[in-house]
């Protein structure tokens, strides 16, 4: 009686395994076809370059863009007045480099002749005036409005000349005009219209957007700077990093950016190479001098001396970073040697603690974020371990991204691990933090009359050599007072298929020159 019963069960089980197996085989057999078709669609012959991004580019209006993916897509669709070269120097873009009046009160730009929007209309000075006026309107809530804080008005005396009148001289003003958030849009274009159908004068023009899946662009034949390398450029959304690696290795995606060195390494193959690039961004231990526990400069200096920035890079970022001082702008870069403790010095740290009247250490609350960037929690733990060596007990509070941003913006913390944006101009990097009226001074928790004066001199001076001296003093002021403890600038990894040519890997994995890349 039992045998047939067992046979029935066994047969059913065997049948189901066979069905599952058949399903897998069917999938795999169609797979090779799809693998080859995918390789074909990724550019072999069709001229389509597929760039993998981990999140959708949802902000398609230049002045609203804050997310990296949106910036990467907008850089292909719009042109700002100026660009930067690979060393971070300003170079002409949609306009020539500006002529500055003697007192630094006016900037005059001459537009590139022949530039057109994708609707065929020429780019004129009126379009530039309209774009800048729109950015300056509070109702636009433009993320780039801060670049125009010193601007009094914008005029368009003729079709190719733009004159910007300043409220006061501001040598940092031109650097803002190289960001895509100041990309030029046609006169009268509204944010809602541009969100639905971007219309710029960039190397590619908008074709379609499938939310959370892809954005497809096609070559702009009228692009003023040259012929874009690929006929079609597609940004493919693949949310998971490891899936991105698989897509790269199978050729479904031609290029992608990784911040995690381990993931980037797994993407390397005979057909995928990795370009490592530095960054203007910096990771920092922010100390709020305004909080009672850190108000004594010796306490902050003790922390600065107890920290090994290289140790943080090695343990938290797996070596993928470069130790930095405050200023990362290429022309004004701070030296890491000019600090009270260029490297970890526990003896000196303890001396500072004793001077502060806390020889046995104290308790410090440190916030960090889960979700804003990968190494944030590891950095907090590394700092916790290092400060423990001089008796400072660090309570690490790991917050969600939104909770962290909320606390950070309101200055509701004693110390914070942060990744802050860099800029080619040091004034843009730090005036907002360390001048008493700066928009982020509550976050920085430190300012001084000396710094206020130096920052004022910095924007009033146009001569680069003189500016370098001023910002060197600013840098020294910041480290001598241990306003913060600067850790490192991160590295990014750009994975590129060998079928992609002329790809220029740039600092911050900036894709403003992606248009030159072609695909074989």
């Amino acid at each position: 009686m039992k045998k047939p019963k067992r046979r029935g069960a066994t047969a059913l089980a065997a049948g189901s395994v066979a069905v599952a197996g058949a399903l897998l085989v069917a999938g795999c057999s169609t797979s090779s076809q799809s693998g080859s078709s995918s390789a074909a669609s990724s550019g072999n012959g069709s001229g389509t370059l597929v760039f993998g991004i981990t999140a959708d580019a949802t902000q398609l209006v230049p002045w609203t863009a804050t997310a990296e993916e949106s910036v990467e897509v907008l850089q292909q669709l719009y042109s700002p007045l100026l660009n930067t070269d690979s060393s971070g120097n300003l170079v002409p873009g949609l306009a020539s480099l500006p002529t500055v009046s003697d007192g630094g009160d006016t900037y005059t730009f001459t537009l590139h002749s022949g530039a057109k929007f994708t609707d065929g209309q020429p780019v004129t000075a009126s379009d530039v005036q309209y774009t800048f006026d729109t950015i300056m309107k509070p109702s636009s809530a433009a993320s780039s409005a801060s670049y125009f804080e010193s601007v009094a008005s914008v005029a368009a005396p003729n079709a190719t000349t733009v004159v910007v009148h300043m409220k006061h001289p501001d040598a940092s003003f031109p650097s803002g005009l190289s960001t895509i958030q100041t990309g030029i849009v046609p006169s009268g274009a509204t944010a809602s219209a541009l969100q639905a159908k971007p219309d710029g004068s960039g190397p590619y023009e908008f074709v379609s957007h499938v939310p959370n899946e892809s954005i497809t662009l096609s070559r702009n034949a009228d692009y003023f700077a040259g012929k874009p390398g690929a006929a079609t450029l597609k940004f493919q959304v693949i949310p998971d990093d490891q899936s991105m690696v698989s897509a790269l290795r199978t050729g479904a995606v031609d290029a992608a950016i990784f911040s995690d060195p381990v993931t980037a390494k797994t993407a390397t193959s005979s057909s995928v190479t990795i370009d490592k690039v530095g960054s203007l961004q910096y990771h920092v231990l922010q100390l709020r001098a305004a909080s009672p526990v850190l108000s004594n400069v010796n306490t902050r200096l003790a922390i600065a001396c107890a920290i090994s920035a290289q140790g943080v890079v090695d343990s938290a970022a797996l070596g993928a970073g470069t130790v930095t001082g405050p200023i990362t702008s290429p022309q004004y870069k701070s030296s890491t040697a000019d600090q009270p403790c260029p490297t970890q010095n526990l003896t000196k740290a303890k001396q500072y603690l004793a001077k502060a009247g806390q020889p046995n250490g104290f308790t410090l609350n440190l916030i960090t974020s889960q979700g804003l960037y990968a190494s944030a929690v590891n950095e907090a733990q590394a700092v916790q371990a290092q400060l423990g060596q001089i008796g400072i007990k660090v309570n690490v509070q790991t917050l969600s991204a939104s909770a962290y941003v909320s606390d950070w913006l309101s200055g509701n913390f004693e110390a914070a691990i942060a990744e802050n944006a860099g800029n080619i101009d040091p004034n843009t990097m730090y005036a907002r933090y360390f001048t008493s009226t700066g928009s982020f001074n509550k976050v920085a928790g430190y300012s001084s009359p000396t710094l206020n004066s130096l920052f004022a001199q910095g924007i009033a001076t146009t001569n680069v050599a003189q500016r370098q001296k001023i910002y060197q003093q600013i840098s020294e002021q910041l480290v001598d007072n241990a306003a913060w403890v600067w850790l490192y600038t991160p590295e990014e990894f750009i994975a590129v298929n060998t079928s992609v040519h002329n790809f220029q890997a740039r600092t911050d994995a900036d894709l403003s020159m992606l248009w030159q890349a072609s695909i074989s």
Partner: protein, 325 residues
């Protein structure tokens, strides 16, 4: 009055009322949870750069996102919209939540159905196989495999399998743009194969255990012994008397798993780039798109309630005793 009383007391009326109360509770809970978490759409969009915004810009953004209204007004505005079929909009992309859901929901339903099929195809025969010799090596080894499958995190399995197939066979259909079942059925099934297998493997163990336990319990029932004594052929005994009755709890479990998959397939959707409803909620949460999260969670909850009702109905079909009751 009698009719009214009978209507009110009718089990179907009671279930519908329970369902409506559940959904209302879900709307309130989702709304409150979203507001309790620090931050809002402005800080979600601008991040730390929100500190650069002037107060005039912040007021403008608050008006744009509707954040300047009291929370109660925001809630009833949204709830009122639901009654007119308006689920709200994604404020950043200006897409309606209805259209987003109409695109995402079929993908998730397809994935859930395929996963359940894989789970049943693996779990039911596995359960029968294990129950065929309880306590013996066949049973123990099947249960061991089941335990392993249950212990294996689906994100790990998904990543490992997709990486292996990409490296070894140059096969990664999910690296291409997602193809819907209507647009490209072949590619769509390829793209669904791995996520359905991964999710199916996580569903199979409970199905297997339930089937095994149920078969063993039913095999000991008097009516089975009676049927066997009366000379019912073994095959018929297995299928009509044992399997059919043993599947009742499996149906219930499958219904629950299906409901769970509607919102719980996020990991598979994320790893395999499937634009489903779970990912829609995840992205909405990240960007603090209140209407997207509230309405999508409500849709998922409504689907869950409907699936449970449908399970109850199937239960009545499969189990004659329930019909009698």
């Amino acid at each position: 009055m009698t009719y009214l009383s009978a209507f009110v007391r009718h089990p179907v009326t009671r279930r519908v009322a329970e369902a409506i109360a559940t959904l209302l509770g879900v709307t309130i809970l989702t709304f409150l949870l979203l507001r309790v978490v620090p931050g809002n759409q402005i800080t979600a969009q601008y991040g730390t750069a929100a500190g650069n915004l002037t107060s005039a810009q912040i007021h403008s953004l608050e008006a744009y996102y509707g954040l300047n209204k009291p929370a109660v007004v925001q809630y009833f505005d949204w709830l009122g919209g639901l009654f007119t079929g308006n689920l709200g909009i994604d404020v950043t992309t200006r897409q309606t939540v209805s259209s987003m859901t109409a695109q995402a929901l079929p993908n998730t339903i397809e994935l859930a159905v395929l996963s359940i099929i894989v789970g049943l195809v693996l779990g039911v025969p596995g359960g029968l196989f294990a129950a065929s010799r309880p306590g013996k090596i066949r049973d123990n080894s099947t249960q061991l495999v089941s335990l392993l499958a249950l212990s294996l995190p689906s994100f790990l399995l998904a990543t490992a399998v997709s990486t292996w197939l990409a490296d070894s066979f140059n096969w990664d259909p999910n690296g291409q743009g997602f193809a819907t079942l209507v647009a490209n059925p072949g590619l769509n099934l390829e793209q669904m194969l791995l996520p359905a297998l991964v999710l199916g493997i996580s569903i199979a163990p409970p199905v297997l255990q339930t089937t095994r336990a149920s078969v063993l319990a039913i095999r000991a029932e008097d009516y089975v012994r009676t049927a066997r004594a009366k000379g019912v052929p073994e095959r018929r005994l297995q299928v009509r008397h044992i399997l059919r009755n043993a599947l009742i709890p499996v149906v219930t479990m499958s219904g629950l798993q299906f409901g769970f998959l509607l919102g719980g397939a996020i990991v598979a959707e994320q790893i395999f780039s499937i634009p489903g409803i779970g990912r829609q909620v995840l992205l909405g949460l990240g960007q603090k798109e209140y209407a997207v999260v509230q309405s999508t969670v409500l849709v998922i909850a409504a689907m869950f309630v409907l699936v449970n009702l449908a399970t109850d109905l199937i239960y009545r079909v499969v189990d004659p005793k329930v019909r009698v009751r």
